[in-house]
């Protein structure tokens, strides 16, 4: 079953086109790696897919509903760009942040035992239960990533969208983080990952989408390595950069 269905979607910031005529589907249980040069529209496409932006044309469905009108926010876990450096001074604890996973289902009202259990087991699943009472702002980049994953797990999400999650994270934590993503994927979590390190994506993802405004490739990692899609997409970007300067 398709979790996300993108059909002939186009989006522009003002007159500057960012995503052009992109069509692709994300199946349940898939691990999709979204690659492309800087400024290629990866983040915008991800935002379109999860309903954060309206498309100029084309259609996008998320969990079977139009993405913009989706009411199933609790099924989606989002890990934003640059969490490693954000909100240092906010005195929020790890547990407080993970509890947010329950908020879409419970904006007001007391937490039940089921809510609390979901939070605790999410903390244990990503191995940060011992950090629960620490401040998020005092954690390392790798630990912070896990807080966001735990938040998604607490909400019983079955789709995880990550935008360059390991920027500012050391190599060792990064490796452990991608192993965790693979484990979650094996347990049935659908994952969409934006990542600039193509080696990592081809190792961990089950599908690759290569984007530079247009979709240059969509298929298996093995096939991706063999095609010229990468050179085409990145070569395109260099000429675009030259035009701009």
């Amino acid at each position: 079953m398709a979790v996300i269905e993108v059909q002939e979607v186009t989006f522009a910031y003002g007159t500057r086109p960012v995503v052009e005529q992109v069509s692709l589907g994300v199946e349940s249980g898939e691990f999709l790696g979204l690659v492309g040069p800087n400024g290629s529209g990866k983040t915008t496409l991800l935002e379109l897919m999860i309903g954060l932006r309206p498309a100029d044309s084309g259609s996008i469905t998320l969990f079977g509903d139009p993405a913009q009108a989706s009411t199933q926010g609790d099924r989606l876990g989002y890990v934003p760009q640059d969490v490693a450096n954000a909100k240092d001074e906010m005195p929020i604890t790890v547990r407080e942040a993970v509890r947010m996973g329950r908020y879409p289902q419970k904006l007001v009202g007391r937490f039940t035992d089921a809510d609390r259990d979901a939070v605790e087991s999410a903390l244990q699943r990503v191995e940060i239960a011992d950090l629960a009472d620490r401040r998020v702002g005092r954690l390392s980049g790798g630990q912070r990533q896990r807080v966001f994953i735990a938040r998604a797990l607490a909400s019983d999400a079955d789709l995880l969208a990550l935008d360059e999650p390991t920027v500012g994270v050391d190599a060792e934590s990064r490796e452990a983080f991608y192993d965790l993503l693979n484990e979650l994927n094996e347990d049935g979590m659908t994952i969409i990952l934006i990542e600039h390190d193509i080696g990592i994506v081809t190792t961990h993802a089950s599908k690759i989408a290569c984007l530079n405004q247009e979709l240059f490739f969509h298929g298996d990692p093995e096939a991706f390595v063999e095609t010229n899609a990468l050179a085409d997409a990145y070569g395109g970007s260099q000429s675009i950069l030259q035009h701009n300067h």
Partner: protein, 333 residues
């Protein structure tokens, strides 16, 4: 006409219950118990009531503003509230009506809050420019209105500019209590979405939370706090209570606990400030802000001084301190 009459009777009876039956009785008892006359004076009782309300609602709303780096919105809305006060006094002077200036201040500040939020939505971020335009524009309207009459209202406006214990009339005290209840209820109901948005705005949108609506709510609640606190703090200093106690409490671990910490530190500042202000006959708003800043400095220096003492004297604890520092430094990797 009947509705207006019954409304004003209802307001009178609420005023009596709050000011005389509950707060007045408690403060009279405190005055007898401690032998301090000041607690027994009705106007000081009202000032202390205002102090408690401001200490409660300032950090309650301010905690969300400070951690979203929106602290400046308090200042902007305070200046809009000033325009509102001027408009109320102007209408009263021109048409011989008797509208409480706090009501007009509330309306103008709430409209300005929505205007700022709209500008921000279109500009895409909390641009200083949007805030500066609304701030300056409001103050300009206020100053024009103040001078548009024969100077009669210029006298009345002074107490709102600088704040004063005497501004807290019975009506104003009741308005303040009601506004405080509204703010407390609003924050209680919207606590979770506001916390989510403050921590991770994009994540909140992805989770299906209506970020725009809660941003508007936060802006309007800020306007309410500003108007409520304006009578004692004065327009120019009112934003301080949204920011300083919150800043003093950021070292407390846990967002909810830091809000409570902010309220406690706010209480220390406002109650001490009102007391000192009466004792030495100086401006209440300024005194409160100076006490709040003193509390902030003590809070900032205190733990550091203790840490350095501890690390000099005990080896075990110095390891903990170093551990914390190391933790702070590795997040940049």
């Amino acid at each position: 006409m009947i509705i207006v009459l019954s409304l004003s009777t209802a307001t009178d009876s609420i005023t009596e219950v709050i000011l005389d039956d509950i707060w007045g009785t408690a403060m009279d008892a405190l005055s007898k118990l401690t032998g301090i006359d000041m607690f027994g004076f009705p106007f000081m009782q009202r000032a202390y009531l205002a102090a408690v309300c401001i200490a409660l609602i300032g950090p309650l709303v301010g905690s969300f503003l400070v951690h979203r780096e929106m602290a400046m919105i308090g200042d902007t809305l305070a200046h809009s509230a000033f325009a509102g006060v001027a408009a109320g006094l102007f209408v009263n002077a021109t048409f011989g009506t008797n509208v409480p200036p706090l009501f007009t201040a509330l309306i103008v500040a709430a409209v300005a809050a929505l205007l700022v939020q709209t500008l921000v939505d279109y500009a895409g971020a909390y641009h200083d420019t949007s805030l500066a335009i609304v701030l300056a524009g409001s103050f300009a309207v206020g100053s024009v209105l103040v001078t548009a009459t024969d100077g009669g209202i210029a006298v009345g406006i002074n107490s709102y500019l600088f704040g004063s214990l005497a501004t807290v009339t019975r009506v104003n005290a009741t308005i303040l209590v009601v506004l405080s209840l509204i703010v407390t209820a609003g924050i209680t109901v919207a606590y979770r979405p506001l916390l989510y948005i403050t921590f991770d705005e994009v994540g909140a949108r992805a989770a299906g939370i209506s970020v725009r609506r809660y941003n508007q709510l936060l802006a309007v609640l800020t306007a309410v706090v500003v108007v409520a606190a304006m009578q004692i703090m004065g327009v120019i200093l009112v934003a301080a209570m949204l920011v300083i106690p919150v800043a003093s409490a950021t070292s407390i671990r846990g967002f909810k606990r830091s809000i409570m910490g902010g309220v406690c530190l706010g209480l220390v500042s406002t109650v001490a400030g009102v007391t000192i202000s009466y004792q030495y006959d100086v401006a209440a708003g300024g005194t409160i802000v100076l006490v709040a800043i003193a509390v902030y400095i003590v809070g900032m220096i205190g733990p550091r001084a203790r840490n350095s003492l501890v690390s000099e004297h005990t080896e075990g604890d110095s390891a903990t301190v170093t551990g914390v520092n190391a933790e702070g430094s590795d997040k940049g990797e």
